[in-house]
């Protein structure tokens, strides 16, 4: 699915990623952990093509395509999705219009006709139920006046609508209470297929409980310094990151 080789990237002239290697196979869930400032969000943003970030070295292949050569919107069409850490409010652009534009852009990319209005509404209705978003959200502006929890649910809702191959969840669990976290995680789990994969950035054990990741990677100083399975995540939850840092320097 995804193969990252020796990826270096900088933001505003400062190098954040210093040689990332990571391979994600079909149907796998990978969790990225690491102290603040270690490069987790930078990696997510680089993968989805945020223009604020510059790749200086390395390669990323996504289902056989050179990902770094694609525009942000084409990466989306190819099946890459990011659940934003801080979803942006877009006042005045209704959820329905926003998703219609997104879905139809993807259909156009694959040479398909726009989705008829009736089918679109039916699809949105179905997917809304997965994450428990009320109908009235559809006529509101994108994230406009949504609570923190509603914004995160909205991210998973959009993921459900767009059916990506690889989802990047950038701290989707932060700012959620216990119930909201359960709804978001369960919604995410329902969307999983044997083919769809995910990279999940989290600080919390509870997320590990829900997602049961196949792999856990620890990022420190712009490099992946330790790989393991879910048990590595639990160890970090218990002992923090310092022991890993000590391990590296030792």
């Amino acid at each position: 699915m995804l193969e990252i080789k020796n990826l270096h990237a900088c933001v505003e002239g400062k190098e954040i990623l210093k040689g990332i290697d990571l391979t994600v196979g079909d149907g796998e869930v990978h969790v990225l952990m690491g102290p603040n400032g270690s490069g987790k969000s930078t990696l997510s943003n680089v993968l989805v093509g945020n223009p604020k970030y510059t790749v200086t070295e390395g390669s990323v292949t996504f289902n056989g395509k050179d990902l770094l050569a694609l525009s942000a919107e084409d990466r989306s069409h190819e099946g890459l999705f990011m659940s934003f850490q801080a979803p942006v409010e877009i006042p005045g652009v209704s959820m329905t219009n926003f998703l219609r534009a997104a879905l139809n852009a993807k259909r156009k990319y694959f040479g398909q006709e726009p989705l008829p209005a009736g089918e679109l509404l039916k699809l949105l209705r179905e997917k809304r139920k997965l994450v428990g978003l009320d109908a009235h959200f559809m006529s509101r502006g994108v994230n406009e006046g949504f609570s923190g929890g509603e914004k995160k649910r909205n991210e998973i809702f959009q993921m459900a609508v767009l059916e990506p191959k690889l989802s990047i969840l950038d701290e989707t669990d932060s700012g959620l209470d216990v119930d909201a976290l359960r709804i978001v995680a369960e919604g995410f789990n329902q969307l999983r297929t044997p083919q769809s994969s995910a990279i999940v950035i989290t600080h919390y054990q509870r997320m590990l409980d829900y997602l049961k990741p196949d792999f856990v990677h620890v990022l420190v100083g712009g490099r992946i310094v330790k790989n393991g399975d879910a048990s590595l995540g639990y160890a970090i939850e218990e002992r923090g990151f310092d022991w890993i840092k000590n391990e590296i320097t030792a």
Binding site: S71, A72, E73, V88, E89, F98, A102, K106
Partner: protein
């Protein structure tokens, strides 16, 4: 005296012709207007209300005038059909500055509603016209108003009698269409007596084949408790110079709503002087401007709170691209004794290109003690985070920009109370952003 000279000479030499093709009440106002025009001239950049618009340049070319009142050889009523869904308007046409006799359908107004030419009104309502014409539009206060008063030979008269609710929207299509460069002098007199209600939709169009200069002076009188909605949609052309002045006088408890939508223009200036003269009157002015190329759009407002308990609400939004220039000035004047005034004024602007320029001046001037007044202005660029968020979802950058622009001005459109007009305008604005509104095809409000 520079540019003004040619107009004074024209007036002096053609005075007989002008008078002969007009009516007494209009002719009676000319001498004072000429005097004011000769004394003060056209507004210059030194005038506080005209700092960013070069008026003289617009009036400098040699335009033809239709002083002999030759009736245009087109019958717009046959050529245009209104197709605004669910909006049944009474449709009237003004070609250049000639009011075209309406179709029998439009002419059928209910008892108490009169729409006719000023000339006809002078015969049917001599007292009203004599009492109202030129009362608000003071030639000494503004050079363009003075020039308009000097030259106006006819115009549109709308009268709604006390307590009458005008059932249909009165749609007035102003067409600029001639076989040479032409100056048109338009005049509107609107009288809504106590408790009367009316909504008007003005659509300004240009065939774009020649250079046109238009001056328009509207005087609106709202009696006690009257309600008037006045929408003005401009879809003219780069070669159009347009100066519209609207003066409104509001008595107690009346409500005047102005909606100005500039979709296509060359140089356009809308000046609004709203006088809240009776207790509890309400003035609302909403504006939406979409400009690109070399377009220049200037909205200049004065809301004069002269009585207690009045409210005013101003919201203007501009989206400027290329080398377009936007100008906004909104002065809220709260006079001594106008206690319990409530006023909100917002001007928000989006510059989509680095060469677009916006000049904004919200002004509050308060001489009363117990008032609540807010004002604010912003000039911004696209929200890069929002653009990227949309691109991540697969929406390409140009479509994302379009959605953001449309959303930006849509909260102005949303305030239009006539639903069919609102929907139609929302659609036209989208077409405008998509670059599909290239030229005027008659009345775009009517042609879908």
């Amino acid at each position: 005296m520079g540019v003004e000279q040619q107009y004074i000479e024209l007036f002096d030499s053609q005075r007989d012709l002008i008078d002969r093709h007009s009516v007494g009440v209009l002719n009676a106002r000319r001498a004072a207007a000429r005097e004011a025009f000769a004394a003060h001239g056209l507004p210059t950049r030194r005038d506080e209300r005209c700092k960013y618009t070069d008026v003289a340049e617009a009036f400098a070319p040699d335009y033809g005038l239709n002083l002999g009142r030759i009736v245009p050889g087109v019958d717009p009523y046959r050529a245009y059909r209104c197709q605004v869904p669910n909006l049944s308007t009474a449709l009237y046409f003004v070609v250049n500055d000639s009011f075209m006799s309406p179709s029998p359908v439009a002419a059928q107004q209910p008892e108490g509603v009169t729409v006719c030419s000023l000339g006809e009104a002078a015969r049917r309502f001599p007292d009203v016209v004599d009492n109202c014409y030129g009362r608000l539009a003071d030639p000494a206060g503004d050079g363009i108003t003075a020039l308009n008063t000097m030259l106006a030979q006819d115009g549109l008269f709308v009268h709604v009698a006390a307590g009458v609710k005008c059932p249909r929207t009165l749609q007035v299509v102003n067409m600029s269409a001639a076989s040479l460069d032409l100056m048109a002098t338009r005049r509107v007199l609107l009288v809504a007596e106590a408790g009367a209600e009316a909504s008007l939709l003005f659509c300004d169009h240009s065939d774009g084949r020649h250079n046109y200069l238009t001056t328009q002076v509207v005087e609106a009188f709202l009696g006690k408790g009257a309600r008037v909605d006045f929408y003005s949609v401009e879809e003219t052309h780069a070669s159009h110079r347009r100066f519209c002045h609207l003066y409104a006088d509001q008595q107690a408890g009346s409500r005047f709503t102005f909606g100005g939508i500039t979709l296509m223009a060359g140089l356009t200036r809308n000046r609004l002087d709203l006088h809240l003269g009776g207790e509890g009157a309400e003035a609302r002015a909403y504006g939406c401007v979409v400009a690109d190329g070399e377009e220049h759009v200037d909205n200049n407002l004065l809301v004069d709170h002269a009585a207690p308990g009045c409210t005013s609400d101003l919201l203007y939004k501009y989206v400027l691209d290329d080398r377009a220039t936007g100008v906004f000035a909104g002065r809220i004047l709260v006079r001594e004794g106008a206690e319990h005034t409530a006023s909100d004024e917002t001007n928000a602007n989006l510059c989509a290109s680095p060469d677009a320029r916006m000049f904004t001046r919200p002004i509050l001037e308060i001489y009363a003690d117990d008032v609540r007044c807010n004002h604010g202005a912003t000039v911004g660029r696209f929200d890069e985070q929002a653009l990227f968020y949309m691109r991540q979802r697969g929406i390409d950058e140009s479509e994302a920009r379009l959605l953001l622009q449309h959303a930006f001005v849509n909260d102005v459109i949303r305030r239009i109370e006539l639903e069919p007009v609102r929907d139609r305008l929302s659609y036209l604005v989208e077409m405008r952003f998509r670059g599909l509104l290239h030229r005027c095809g008659g009345c775009e409000m009517c042609h879908s």
